[in-house]
């Protein structure tokens, strides 16, 4: 028996910005797979390449950025995200919601018109039928009086309501994969929880796989089953959430966990990672991108790119210090 093809598989992804030939890699050798209905978190700080990875998968890289290597497959079928056929896939097989719901909706179109546009982009539904479906979608994201709200303008909605509209648009064609790029970062804390639960519930109902881009390890624990930790455009550590967060192997993952102030107990001092993330990484430079901030870094960390290797059951990481003995030596 073979396992079903993953909803999304990414191999050797590389994204560069700048003029062709003289560009700088901002994402290097990123690889992961999400099984159908699975939920993967991509965690990182600014400059980690997490958003670029998401946009590359959806073929929505901004002007000046492009995929220079790697293979992306949806449900086992290899696609070219930058190619002309992608418009038929986006919105139907892959859907995406973004960080800032205030700017993600067109201010001069009604909410209903934007929903209808999303519906009719991939179906031959009549405008009337599409409108009825749009109202159903608003109801599904728990917007009260949905039929009336179709005629509302985006500026008449709060941030949380707009994010609900975005979710409704994204899930209208029951996509195999939903990419959510920091979907709650711009929202109030109590709204964050509601929106995450909504995404969670609807993805389960529709059987959509979820790729959640976030800087927030707390969210990862509650809503995802596997996690990829990125730094400087490269993968630091990846594996099941419980394994990675329960016993982080990579010094960066460990540092990141220690840096968050706990809610349930008092601590006198936090244990910050020194320095700051580089906003414009060079993901193709030799060495570990985290080495300049790593308290454990050795000479080889700055010159030799560490290999991607298993670091426990289903967990893998890229760190020289994990290497020495396969029997749980090094940092593990």
């Amino acid at each position: 028996m073979t396992a079903p093809a993953p909803a999304l598989s990414v191999e050797g992804l590389r994204v560069a910005v700048g003029p062709p030939g003289r560009g700088r890699a901002v994402v290097g050798d990123v690889a992961f797979a999400i099984p159908p209905g699975g939920r993967l978190a991509i965690v990182g700080e600014s400059g980690s390449g997490k958003s670029m990875t998401a946009l590359a998968v959806a073929g929505l890289l901004p002007r000046g950025a492009r995929q220079t290597a790697g293979q992306i497959a949806l449900g086992g079928r290899i696609v070219d995200p930058a190619g002309p056929g992608m418009a038929r896939i986006r919105g139907r097989e892959i859907a995406m919601i973004f960080q800032d719901p205030m700017s993600a909706l067109n201010p001069v179109m009604t909410v209903g018109a934007q929903l209808v546009e999303a519906i009719r982009a991939h179906s031959a539904m009549s405008p009337r039928a599409a409108r009825a479906r749009a109202a159903e979608m608003l109801a599904a994201v728990q917007i009260p009086r949905p039929a009336e709200r179709l005629d509302a303008w985006p500026h008449e909605f709060s941030g949380g309501m707009r994010q609900r509209v975005m979710i409704a648009m994204a899930l209208t064609h029951r996509p195999k994969l939903l990419i959510a790029d920091e979907p709650t970062t711009a929202l109030d804390v109590t709204t964050q929880l509601q929106i995450l639960r909504l995404i969670d519930g609807l993805c389960r109902e529709e059987g959509s796989a979820l790729m959640l881009i976030t800087h927030d390890l707390g969210i990862v624990e509650g809503f995802c089953d596997s996690v990829v930790v990125l730094y400087g455009g490269r993968m630091m550590e990846a594996g099941p959430v419980a394994a990675v967060l329960g016993r982080p192997r990579h010094p960066y993952t460990r540092g990141l966990m220690a840096t968050i102030p706990p809610l349930d107990r008092d601590v006198d001092w936090l244990d910050p990672i020194p320095g700051e993330p580089v906003a414009t990484p060079a993901a193709d430079a030799p060495g570990c991108p985290f080495a300049p901030r790593c308290g454990l870094a050795e000479a080889r960390c700055r010159t030799v790119t560490p290999a991607w290797r298993p670091a426990g059951s289903k967990v893998a990481a890229s760190c020289h210090l994990l290497a020495p003995s396969p029997a749980g030596g090094g940092l593990s």
């Binding site: 929505l60 002007r63 418009a87 859907a95 201010p107 179109m109 005629d151 500026h155």
Partner: protein
């Protein structure tokens, strides 16, 4: 919240906004009238002497002429009389011909308005497709070509464009008359032939400005998040550009369009002179040279009124294009 306001409330808000506009209009007009009145009096040169010639008239004749024209009264009196007449719609009579100023202006308005509207239409017809095409291919040779064309349109003085067009269409190909004007009612074809070159002259200048504006706005809008959302939905690129980006780009474009409509009025002065069109521009220039105060005052007043109306029109367009503006007015 905008949707919460009842129809009646919104109607009242609209009425209030209209009343405020009317009041603004009155204030602007009185201000313009005052400034024009004072400026004209500050310019050296006596209309009576210019009309009659310096030597031919004796003192009595001059004095009588001044009394007839009201020029013997104090400045304050002249001002109050002029203001009072203006309010009642009487702009006085030409010092030279005695014809009521209102008649002169009404006769001069159609050619100028026709010229302005034709030029604006030409400018829009040029700028929307070219601006959008340049924005979609920003940085490409096509974009560069369009930008060069636009900058040429902006930076070439209108009289040079006019002379170039005259050479091409009137001298070389003999397609259009060199100059002159026929009313549309008398000879529609002849009217359009006469207006073609002047309108094209102004239209190319305006078109250059508007192409730049449209290109910049569409490029900006294409970088906005909602455009990315539309692409993420799988909307085709043409619909992304026209349904989303251009619709939002229309808001700043209309602002510039309004400004350009105002610029038209001053552009008309040169164009009408070159092409011998009896419009407001010609009327103003001729009568400034002759110190025919009432005519100049009246013309400037009408031009100011048109400016204000254009502005009101632009505001109306905003309400049409941008729901956020509608909501703001209803609050």
């Amino acid at each position: 919240m905008g949707s919460g306001a009842s129809r009646q409330e919104r109607g009242q808000a609209l009425a209030r906004a209209a009343a405020r506009r009317l009041f603004d209009l009155a204030v602007v007009m009185v201000g313009v009238a005052t400034v024009v009145f004072l400026l004209l009096r500050a310019v050296p040169g006596d209309p009576v002497l210019i009309l009659g010639g310096l030597d031919t008239l004796d003192r009595d004749v001059i004095a009588r002429a001044r009394a007839e024209m009201g020029l013997d009264r104090s400045l304050v009196e002249q001002y109050l009389i002029w203001l009072g007449n203006m309010v009642s719609g009487d702009l006085g009579r030409s010092l030279r011909s005695g014809v009521p100023v209102t008649d002169l202006i009404l006769r001069a308005m159609p050619p100028t308005f026709q010229l302005g509207i034709m030029a604006l239409v030409i400018g829009m017809v040029i700028s929307v497709p070219l601006g959008v095409a340049a924005a979609r291919r920003a940085g490409s040779p096509a974009d560069l070509g369009i930008t060069v064309f636009a900058i040429l349109g902006i930076s070439t003085p209108p009289f040079v464009i006019a002379l170039g067009l005259v050479y091409l269409f009137a001298v070389e190909f003999r397609l259009l008359p060199v100059a002159g004007y026929v009313a549309f009612a008398d000879d529609p074809a002849g009217n359009l032939r006469a207006m073609a070159m002047p309108a094209l002259t102004l239209g190319l200048v305006t078109g250059g400005v508007l192409v730049r504006m449209m290109r910049r706005s569409v490029i900006d809008e294409l970088g906005e998040d909602y455009v990315r959302t539309a692409r993420a939905k799988g909307v085709g690129e043409t619909a992304v550009v026209y349904r989303h980006a251009v619709r939002n780009a229309a808001i700043p474009y209309v602002t510039i369009l309004g400004l350009e409509a105002g610029v038209m009025l001053s552009g008309a002065v040169i164009t009408e002179t070159i092409f011998a069109i009896p419009g407001l521009g010609r009327l103003m220039i001729d009568n400034i040279n002759a110190r025919d105060y009432p005519v100049v005052q009246g013309t400037v007043l009408v031009v100011a009124l048109v400016y204000v109306l254009i502005n009101a029109g632009v505001d109306g367009m905003y309400r049409l294009l941008d729901p956020r503006v509608r909501a703001g007015a209803a609050r």
